[in-house]
Amino acid sequence: MLLSTRLFLSMGLGLGISAYIVFCSFLFLDRLDNLFVIAGHFILLALLVFIGRQSFRKEDFSLMNFRKLKSAGIRRVIPWIVLAASGLTLYLHAGLYPLGGWDAWSCWNLKAKFLFLGGADWKNILDPALWRSSPHYPLLLPLVNVWGWIWAQDTAPIIPLINSVLFSLITVGLLLSGLKMVTGRNTPGILGACFLITLPFFNTLATSQYADIVVAYFVLAALLCFVIAWRGENKIFLFLTGLFLGFLSFSKSEGTIAALILAAIMTVTLLVSRKTKGSLGLNSVLYFLSGLLIASLPTIIFQLLYAPPNQTFTSIFSGLTERVGLYRLKAIALFFLAELTSAKWGGIWIILLAGMILSVKKSLRQEKIVFPAFFALYGLTVAFYYWLNTYFEILWWLSVSLNRILFSLLPAALFWILYSFWEDNNKEGRKA
């Protein structure tokens, strides 16, 4: 496995675990305790080093071999140049709004501030008076920011800014290295990363300090791990897929829905596949489900113990006429179309659709079926929710939220199409 892929997966995994340790402080001590959090990290780190001591010895850190790096020449350096340029672009965009976009100060960073400064009153984030901050949203991003603030010892705005750049960068890096890993070539990864990072809209949204980039990262990470597990017949990656889905479920309400849909599709795919009955083994489903269960525990606990009901929900069945239902349906369908073809996406969705049509046989084959199945089911669920919930005026609501939903799916969609297109030339990749 490529060290770079491992690096980008472990950074997301690490941030997720850190957020969960911070959550444990609120769960067990009913407040933020810095000592508990730091000690928790050290204990976990020591435990992981103890468990993994055998694998460290066997490890081949080939990328750190500078002789190899020199002999590989410019080809090996290009992805890192792309990544460095991405970092610079993202940093410049993040600097435009150091305190983030609207949802950063009205929702995500506000929650983080309550968690960090609230002491025993941290549960005030769930107060109905704060309905503008969506108190029912899960807490992964605020907890990651709190983790940073523990080290800064203050609610420094630089921490959420760094976290947004970091999540954006590891999303681009994971796309780059993930495609290199599964196709055995640099080209698709470089094309995908450049396509993402040259989109002004991607840069703006990625660095707005919203949870959408966190959703985008975990969707991509879960799907990539599933593909790696499938191709390499490696059950550990199914466990990792489950973990990433668990983190995804704690990132945002949309993330919870996405995680549920992905979990259902992956479980069914594993259960009906011949590979599971053969080389991968039936217990691979257990690996997947155990990872999912462990990382979903904070979501389950949050939903059961803390999350208030969604105050911005009114069902369409509560006294609206049939005509309104039909109007909303038409508005949603037309808006989906208008959004996908909007100039702000730089033609990316049209190109991806063309790519899907051109590689239709390959893009629906074997493990890749989870991609279209997920996009279709998630799209339908989102459309149904837009139709069902009449709390907001539909056109306004679509205009402020649909682009973010598409944004969170974009890296995974790019991965799917580029992977399908370049799959033939992946002799090297298959061995990985």
Binding site: G95, L110, K113, G119, N124, R132, T198, P200, G346, G347
Partner: protein, 144 residues
């Protein structure tokens, strides 16, 4: 024409065509990005305020451990710019919860379109002004 279409993929593979389309899109997007970014940076540097919520900075020091304060404004909070200012005030003053239009709390913030309107409302709500910052935001306390 048909002959050309049959021969075409032999020389230029589908992958090359798809790559070329993506590269063209990347170049167009990159030009847009290079045009927009310096312009946006210059625009941001010329703005007097990064953040409207800064109007409320410093008031949190007086509040101490108060968890809930009233917030009064004569502006329409359903408007985008006013709602943004309210949310930014909430962010700056967190972990205290701002309770809009509720004047029954021990402390209330008065953020009005004019000082006269603020003073009038403070008198009417039987409160005493405690601190006024340079932006005209007044923190008032309930009379004992």
């Amino acid at each position: 024409m048909m002959k050309l279409l049959k021969v075409f993929p032999r020389y230029i593979g589908l992958k090359s065509v798809f790559s070329a389309i993506i590269i063209i899109a990347i170049i167009i997007n990159a030009i847009e990005l290079f045009k927009k970014t310096p312009k946006n940076i210059a625009q941001r540097n010329n703005l007097p305020f990064y953040f409207l919520g800064m109007k409320f900075a410093g008031l949190d020091k007086i509040l101490g451990g108060v968890t809930r304060i009233g917030y009064y404004t004569d502006r329409d909070l359903s408007k985008n710019s006013e709602a943004a200012q309210f949310s930014q005030a909430q962010y700056i003053l967190a972990p205290a919860i701002l309770d809009p239009y509720n004047l029954n709390h021990a402390f209330t913030l008065f953020d009005c379109s004019s000082q006269e309107k603020c003073q009038e409302k403070i008198r009417a709500s039987n409160a005493i002004p405690l601190k006024k910052n340079q932006f005209g935001v007044i923190l008032a306390g309930k009379k004992p």
